[in-house]
């Protein structure tokens, strides 16, 4: 083991610049993969938050609603019953959930509570400022016009929102960012794999004398390969640690330092827990990225 570690030390000091360039490439690739995964996690979280099967939100009138169908102020029980009946009998509606003003207030608290201004806004609003709503699931998510035209004109209905329409751009942006991050990461991963292969080829060449002697005196394959494997593993772990640090800084400065404060009203943002899971995944990926080409190349160049 001592010999092996000294071999590793010699090899690392000989390949300093190669190892550093490998670590840099791997760190950037892993960081991009991590951001891609984080965006994915954000998209899941947003979709989960709003309900992935909800297509329409029918808000009834509150006493302050400006709509022409809210002239009588807060929706009456009769108006509520009429809207419910209309939804019940509409063939395009699959089901609908009722959310009370208190439910909506709770949800708003979770969303607005992320920011300082949101918290202040909430202080001036009570549960009564929030409408009763029906969250409607359609049989065919694309066919919402019929329901919208039917209920939006009914007395007691403040407005009808299509959540798909509202959240569409957000999901689209998240999706595009994710593709961009993963696409760039894939290119960099190819570069990292080639760099691992080149490093091994160069190291095998630089150490050809030692390797030749090791083969001749009967060193086993794994004994010859191990310094290479350890070197790759070390580079992978350093890259994983640096990319985890990068992701941590992104979480601290961008997500917690900016997004939650300034864009907290859009959605709930990813938390530390999700970023830790992403760090775990990128660490495994780093080891695979380094070790798979190492095993292939060492078999090719160092086989007894």
């Amino acid at each position: 083991m001592r010999t092996m570690l000294s071999e590793l030390g010699t090899s690392l000091s000989r390949n300093k610049s190669m190892t550093i360039s490998l670590v840099v490439t791997m760190t950037v690739s892993l960081l991009l993969v991590a951001l891609g995964l984080l965006i994915q996690s954000q998209a899941d979280r947003t979709e989960q938050y709003f309900g992935d099967r909800l297509q329409l939100q029918v808000n009834l009138c509150t006493k302050n609603s400006p709509s022409s169908t809210c002239i009588g102020g807060e929706a009456t029980d009769a108006q509520k019953a009429a809207v419910k009946k209309a939804l019940d009998t509409n063939p395009e509606v699959k089901s609908f959930d009722v959310r009370t003003p208190a439910d909506n207030y709770e949800q708003a608290r979770e969303l607005l509570g992320q920011t300082e201004t949101g918290r202040k806004q909430l202080e001036t609003l009570g549960p009564s400022a929030f409408p009763e709503s029906y969250f409607v699931t359609l049989k065919d998510p694309q066919k919402f016009d019929g329901v919208v035209s039917q209920v939006s004109g009914m007395d007691g209905v403040g407005n009808v929102n299509s959540l798909r329409k509202l959240l569409g751009p957000l999901f689209e942006i998240l999706e595009k960012m994710q593709y961009a991050a993963i696409g760039t990461a894939l290119l960099l991963i190819v570069a990292a794999i080639l760099q691992v292969s080149n490093t091994i080829r160069m190291t095998a060449y630089a150490r050809r004398r030692e390797i030749g002697i090791m083969r001749l005196v009967g060193a086993s394959s794994w004994h010859i390969q191990l310094p290479f494997v350890l070197e790759s593993m070390l580079a992978a772990l350093i890259s994983a640690a640096l990319s985890a640090l990068g992701l941590g800084l992104f979480m601290y400065f961008v997500v917690y330092g900016y997004l939650r404060d300034n864009l907290g009203q859009i959605t709930t943002w990813v938390r530390w827990q999700e970023s830790v899971v992403v760090m775990g995944i990128t660490t495994v990926l780093a080891l695979l990225l380094a070790l798979v080409p190492t095993f292939i190349m060492t078999r090719k160049y160092l086989d007894v």
């Binding site: 030749g212 002697i213 083969r215 001749l216 005196v217 004994h223 007894v304």
Partner: protein
Amino acid sequence: MIRFDKVTKTYPGQKRPALQGLDLEIEKGEFVFLVGASGSGKSTFLRLVLRETRPSTGRVYVAGKEINKLSSWKVPKLRRQVGTVFQDFRLLPNKTVTENVAFALQVIGKSRHEIDKLVPETLEMVDLQGKGHRMPDELSGGEQQRVAIARAFVNRPMILIADEPTGNLDPATSVGIMKLLDRINRTDTTVVMATHDSTIVDQMRKRVIELDDGHIVRDEARGIYGYQS
């Protein structure tokens, strides 16, 4: 110890075989000179013994193992039975004499205790006691070859292969190296030496196998380098 059974070796892309229908047996403790012109098949013979290549047809047995049937993970074990010495010494320039010899034991996983015992013993055997701390470039050619022999022999192999070990040395130094190989041979180690050095072969009067164009053209028990008239 070494047996070739109708061995033919043709390298990929070559029409002419490097060895053709070779039949021979080398017993335990024998000292054999392998002679012949360049390209006669000597190196291929040695590479087959080391299992660096496999025969195209026929069988090669080394230390009781048929090398063609030997799976690659068992090859290192076979090579621990075969020490090798080259014309160009092949020492590691950044290691001392002791470290060069110890390296052969370290990489096969020998304990520190064994290494500490075997390395000084072997250095003494090759008359390099007191020079263990020197770097290879501080030694003469003959001394460097002694280090290479110590490295090949430190694990006490059953066979020692020497490929032109005196090729880079002056005649007086060569005699010293041959005495050393003879001493190793007396420990019941089989020595196979490929050489072009007619003086040494003629002086030693050991078994001589002459190869020509991949065939054995002469196999004499107490032979000389050229044909006896």
